[in-house]
Symmetry: C2
Subunit: 219 residues, 2 copies
Amino acid sequence: MKISELSERTGVSIPTLKFYLREGLLRPGTLTAPNQADYDESHVRRARLVRVLREVAHLSIARIAAITGALDRGEDLYEVMGVTVDSLGEPPAGEATPERRLAAAEIDRLLAALGLPVRDGSLAREQLIVSFAAIREMLFPGFPVEGLAPYARAAADVVTAEVAATPGIFHAEPEQVLERAVLGLTLFEPILLAFRRLNHEKLVAGRLDGGKGLPGEAG
Amino acid sequence: MKISELSERTGVSIPTLKFYLREGLLRPGTLTAPNQADYDESHVRRARLVRVLREVAHLSIARIAAITGALDRGEDLYEVMGVTVDSLGEPPAGEATPERRLAAAEIDRLLAALGLPVRDGSLAREQLIVSFAAIREMLFPGFPVEGLAPYARAAADVVTAEVAATPGIFHAEPEQVLERAVLGLTLFEPILLAFRRLNHEKLVAGRLDGGKGLPGEAG
DNA sequence: GGATATCGGACAGTGACACTATCCGATAGT
DNA sequence: ACTATCGGATAGTGTCACTGTCCGATATCC
């Protein structure tokens, strides 16, 4: 198919598809003439993957390029998941303060105790460190690492449920296993967050007219 | 204190503080002369709040302005939490397709069954809808809304643990209850996500070599 | 009390980002 | 043959979060 059909099938505009081609998010089509290229179903799937990564996971083009690069290079599942984990969210912004270094040591201890992988430079690890340090600095001074255990447990529960719900996932065609792993990792994140946010809203709503714990004007 | 001291105490540069003042994230100091202003501890706390919202939660200036606006207007806790929930993450990018409208109806049904608040225009609800629709479209066609229940349960568990861990939180000084609620909502999100991501990494690592860790070059 | 540093405030400029527009000569479809 | 569309290259756009510069006024140090 030509680029116009690819555009119609995916809802991505032609200039944007050209941009994705330039950035390497989309592999070039097969040239049938110096200025005619042929795109196939894999391009359709890829364009949709890029769109969902942009619009649902809100990843930058550079980070999507890292993921599609790993996919196109034929990396194995572990490598692709690592790249994807390192592409979700942004790298930490601040500096490496002493507090953060202390937090890092404690986080590493906790992760080891939980049997979770501690890749060097893992973005998930970095985020744990900066969030934990910020919690200690601004919210609960002296907060213990063990206080994070409920989150680790909840996350493990969710992943266990995910595995139970998708028994055959590792037995599909190899090319699509990787894509589906990326999608599974990213598409359920907003759901988990949304439920937590709504639970918080529910909590304060209950506080307001169950016990009138309201600190507003009434003080 | 003057702006230079505020800058030193918070680690935020003077031009950036001026920018925050212009954008209304920081209330103006008390003028002691036409070109001399006095800042206090509330400004220090606010500047740090803005920083953590930028660097840890990655919120845009406009969204932080919505939160600080609610704080400064003296809105009640429920209102502030609602504004904060609507400021976390980005609004959905795509269009309202028929699939999304169907997804919306099912999500609303699920939320009602779970007793979660369904404010009109709630960003959390929107994110549930677009993610759920994307899951159905690209990952698991025919995926039932009930499949989201494990996420709702995990989120509820986490919030329950949070409440249990912070018994006195609603009895602090009113001004700080709101700030702490915002911080509690935002600072623990990256932690929950990070643990899920690491659990996924662990899962595929286990898949690859039956329990070993890294696939490295040999993979 | 005079020199110098810093002040608050206004406004312009910067660099990154994600597209979007325009132009080109070549090819496809009728 | 003629018009629409093609792929590819280059340049331009709008937004965002700062950052830099300038101003006249005030604080601070000798």
